[in-house]
């Protein structure tokens, strides 16, 4: 388990996270005290068997699901201590999400999907003022991901790999300090998945954002300098040099 050296700031810092669900009269403990700190710029693979609690941890770390106990600091901000609206703002500005099923809005073009977090962040007046700049940034991302000819296409007109690249561009439009990805290649064939991963890691090296990747794919885990292994709601292994928790 990682324990950040004193004074080191982390892109993501999870402390004492527990999560239980009530199933009938029984309490199901999905997470049992998770501590995890990811420094800026570090890609971390989160592995473990199904039901280990990876996705729940991911959602709690991404400020989508409230933990039963513990705290989550994103870029130094205690996310679960904020009002819902402030938390939404942190999600918008500081966390980039990539989902297994892309989760693009079907009525929007590729470019509009990429711009969506910016539209959420700005009022109509602000957006109009920054529109040219934001559009340029979005087009730049799409071009880097080889989608310059597909900017006006709707998701239904794109292949799986293209959709995931659009989702990646959307996650990066705000240049977040941390990117959270849930099986980003889980729905792609291996060649397409490989291409997407290459783009992802290229960007990570350029922009230097931290990553928390949930994966079952050993090859993907191997690309990350650090792998955290979970079992039964606990971290049982962390290759950060400090050994198993």
């Amino acid at each position: 388990m990682s324990a950040p050296a004193s004074g080191t700031r982390h892109a993501l810092e999870v402390r004492g996270i527990a999560k239980s669900f009530q199933v009938g009269s029984e309490t199901l403990d999905v997470l049992r005290g998770i501590d995890l700190a990811i420094p800026y710029g570090q890609p971390v693979a989160l592995v473990g068997s199904s039901g280990a609690g990876k996705s729940t941890l991911l959602h709690i770390a991404g400020l989508l699901e409230r933990p039963s106990a513990g705290s989550v600091r994103v870029d130094g901000v205690d996310g679960w201590n904020l009002s819902p609206d402030e938390r939404a703002k942190v999600r918008n500005r500081k966390v980039g999400f990539v989902f297994q099923f892309y989760h693009l809005l079907p009525e929007l073009s590729a470019l509009e999907n990429v711009l969506l977090p910016a539209m959420i962040a700005h009022s109509p007046g602000e957006y109009r003022a920054a529109r040219a700049q934001l559009t340029e940034a979005a087009l730049g991302l799409l071009a880097r991901f080889g989608l310059q000819a597909r900017t006006k296409h709707r998701p239904s007109q794109l292949s799986g790999g293209e959709r995931q690249r659009v989702a990646l561009a959307r996650a990066l439009i705000h240049d977040p300090p941390i990117l959270i990805a849930d099986e980003p290649t889980g729905n792609l064939d291996s060649a397409t998945g490989e291409r997407v991963l290459e783009l992802l890691f290229d960007e990570q090296r350029t922009r230097h954002f931290a990553m928390l990747l949930v994966t079952h794919d050993a090859k993907l885990a191997a690309r990350c300098p650090r792998t955290v292994t979970m079992r039964d709601g606990r971290i049982v292994g962390d290759t950060n040099g400090s050994g198993a928790a």
Binding site: H59, R91, H103, L104, E107, L116, I120, P124
Partner: protein
């Protein structure tokens, strides 16, 4: 920014939204059109009623009070007081009585007319009104009603010879030794009896003897000088005008007037005050009984009729508002469907940083666009139809081969319509309120969705 953008995109991307928009358009358009036409009818009826009744009506009650003598038999003293008021534009005495008319020497079987003619309702009792022409013209619309017959080439031969002297003897009148007395007959009554100008008619009435109390019948022969047409069916079929002195003669000169009609310069401004002042002055001069029921405004007298039309207008408004409710419900149904279909989008938006308030606003905005597009196009459609209702009705009648609006029933040849801007604004606002109220339920449901549940919804 995304709320405006996404709501508009959702609106335009889904054709089912059109149903809601069309519903609102039809509801708003129909409400505006029909209320404008009802307002037009109300105006026309008010004008017609007012023209017939003048502004104020003074009806001295001919019953003695212990400390008063009976009201005067002649109207002059009363007229003098009324005309002295600067707010009064004119005053005219009338003698009103009831009787029956029987054409002399008619070739037709009159029993058929008397007992089975639908216009006369079997019993042809006619209201006999004695007037002074010059003063009557100042207060009521008789001159226009006469001109409507005599100035129309199709009916001129049934009109009076001289509008300024309508009781003047017709040309080429047979000199049969009968003393000449003129009668003006409502056009429907005139047609029912198949009268012609110059025809003699027997006017019969019953008069109570003031001394014995016994009722005796009187009759006199009158000569038809012409017909008049007000456009109001009951007036044109039930009323005959006489010179006031001639009618007084028919009823045995017991009295020469029963009411005085008063026309004001500005009824809207002075009506109520003048009514009260005249009542007080006439009471002081002992010309009326003074118990508050002898001086009335025309609205007092025909209040129930006007209230009925106004009532109908409100009733139709309420019924048509149900159309808006249906349109609102359609929006509710479409939005509810959309919330279910867009569960995943709602989860994505939350993950990307949209607040619950933002999701709520997005779905409310869809309803707002529905209402905006629907209400604005409905208002344009409704106002256009209200303005063009007459040519539209003619076109539609010609197209389907059925006369939708029968112009012969009414005084007016075109369908009346008046657009009240405040009513249009209220209808548009009502459509907005109704739509947003209905949309609030699915919008709140969308905002309450758990984003994770929504994201798992694959």
């Amino acid at each position: 920014m995304y709320k405006l953008f996404l709501s508009w995109r959702y609106l335009t991307a889904r054709r089912t939204n059109l149903i809601g928009i069309v519903g609102i358009t039809v509801g708003v358009g129909a409400l505006i059109m029909i209320l404008s036409i009802m307002t037009g009818f109300l105006d026309e009826h008010r004008a017609a009623i007012r023209g017939g009744l003048s502004d104020l009506v003074i009806t001295p009650i001919h019953l003695a009070r212990s400390d008063r003598s009976v009201p005067p038999r002649e109207p002059e003293a009363l007229l003098e007081i009324v005309r002295a008021d600067p707010r009064v534009a004119g005053a005219a005495p009338r003698l009103v009585w009831g009787g029956m008319i029987s054409p002399r020497g008619a070739q037709t079987d009159l029993s058929e007319v008397y007992y089975s003619h639908p216009e006369t309702g079997n019993v042809p009792v006619v209201q006999l009104i004695g007037i002074d022409v010059a003063s009557e013209y100042q207060v009521a619309n008789l001159r226009e009603a006469l001109a409507r017959v005599s100035s129309d080439p199709a009916s001129a031969r049934h009109g009076v010879r001289d509008l300024d002297d309508p009781f003047a003897a017709p040309r080429d009148l047979d000199d049969d030794g009968i003393a000449y007395r003129g009668i003006l007959v409502g056009k429907k009554l005139y047609d029912t009896f198949q009268l012609r100008v110059g025809d003699r008619v027997n006017v019969l009435t019953a008069v109570p003897d003031p001394r014995s109390g016994a009722v005796k019948s009187n009759n006199l022969i009158f000569t038809v000088c012409g017909a008049f047409k007000t456009g109001q069916s009951e007036i044109d079929s039930d009323i005959a005008y006489f010179d006031r002195r001639a009618l007084a003669e028919l009823i045995g000169n017991e009295r020469s007037f029963s009411t005085v009609l008063v026309k004001l310069h500005d009824f809207e401004r002075d009506g109520a005050a003048t009514r009260a002042d005249l009542e007080q002055r006439l009471d002081k001069a002992r010309l009326i009984r003074g118990e508050g029921d002898e001086v009335s405004t025309w609205e007092d007298l025909r209040g129930s009729l006007i209230a009925a039309i106004e009532n109908e207008r409100i009733l139709i408004g309420v019924m048509l508002a149900l159309v808006l409710l249906v349109a609102g419900f359609t929006v509710f149904a479409i939005l509810s469907m959309m919330v279910v279909e867009k569960r995943r989008d709602i989860g994505i938006l939350s993950a990307l940083g949209a607040t619950r308030g933002g999701v709520l606003s997005t779905f409310l905005l869809i309803a707002f666009w529905d209402a905006l597009v629907g209400a604005v196009s409905g208002a344009v459609l409704g106002v256009w139809l209200a303005v063009k209702i007459d040519p539209f009705e003619r076109w539609l009648s010609a197209t389907i081969g059925y006369q939708i609006w029968n112009r012969e029933i009414y005084l007016f040849d075109t369908i009346p319509s008046r657009i009240v801007p405040i009513a249009v604004a209220l209808i548009v606002l009502g459509a907005f309120a109704c739509t947003l109220l209905f949309a609030a339920i699915p919008a709140v449901r969308a905002a309450r969705l758990d984003p994770l549940e929504a994201l798992r919804y694959e």
